[in-house]
Symmetry: C2
């Protein structure tokens, strides 16, 4: 069966700094019609920076959308025409001051495909060196910490880490690096 | 350090069927100001329906936002004042026709806290019985399949399953039920 929904018309509602919102009128497989509210996002990267002792770097950051400080792995939004790996290297340096010699793309996924086109590229960064000084965006206030990967995993299970990309990356790393 | 961003003013841009978009002017910890584009979403549930042979139910569904058919675990959006567990039971029945006797909430997370307040509640459903007939929403066309949990995990690693909630749930289940 062909599930495709063909676009009849599309209306841009908002074109912002981070997101763009549009509403599409679509034709359904059975010939019916519906509306799809779609949030466009440039895409993002997230980095699990893992050292030789299986510690990872986390950043605490206030997230206005959820009105709380979340503990997350370093991450950021793709700039125009920026390659995800270059973005990952830039964000890791900006948020933690770390340079990594070894990069591995582990999982690429859609965070909310029901209404949003944001694609997130998750990398594991190893052979870490402290080099650059922090240079977060001017409207970004973060606190960096280093914790054992195992501790981060427990913080997922006990509900302390509640950020999707961080959960995916930590679960991946625990099972692939700690051999759980 | 207090990271909180206080709202100076808030403007609603769009109030749709699924999402609501607003732009907040906020005061930053250093006294500066910035704008936050925020997508409001009612919240969602996702269900990993696991049988005695460690098979799970998946649904294939066209996702207009990403213009492709994705393989996902059953999921849905919370209706007004609906309890997540009730929503999970309803969505599982609607999308797969299954009733489960055993429900466990495993992980609750934010899929994109940088700009969206959507909270997703993931459940594992066990002791499954085929009872009701399918009754997806009128604009929802899905194909249901049953695959081994181990196969789903491999499909995450090879990039075939690229839906965030499905990745989190399958990773959790593989490590907690297959003892990987």
């Amino acid at each position: 069966m062909d599930f495709e929904e063909k676009t009849i018309s599309s209306a841009t509602i908002f074109d912002g700094r981070i997101v763009r919102l549009r509403v599409d009128d679509v034709s359904l497989p059975d010939g019916g019609q519906s509306k799809r509210e779609i949030v466009e996002h440039p895409g993002a990267v997230a980095i699990l920076a893992l050292d030789e002792e299986n510690n990872i770097w986390m950043v605490s950051q206030y997230r206005k959308a959820v009105e709380q400080v979340l503990l997350e792995i370093p991450a950021g939004t793709l700039e125009e025409k920026e390659h995800p790996l270059e973005c990952a290297k830039r964000e890791l340096a900006e948020e933690t001051g770390l340079i990594a010699e070894e990069w591995q793309e582990i999982i690429t996924y859609y965070c909310a495909p029901g209404f949003c086109d944001e694609k997130t590229f998750i990398y594991i960064a190893r052979n870490l060196k402290k080099e650059s000084s922090l240079s977060p965006d001017r409207d970004e206030f973060i606190e960096v910490s280093k914790i054992p990967l195992e501790t981060a995993y427990q913080q997922i299970l006990d509900g302390h880490i509640i950020d999707g990309k961080s959960i995916i990356a930590v679960q991946y790393a625990v099972y692939n690096y700690l051999g759980k």
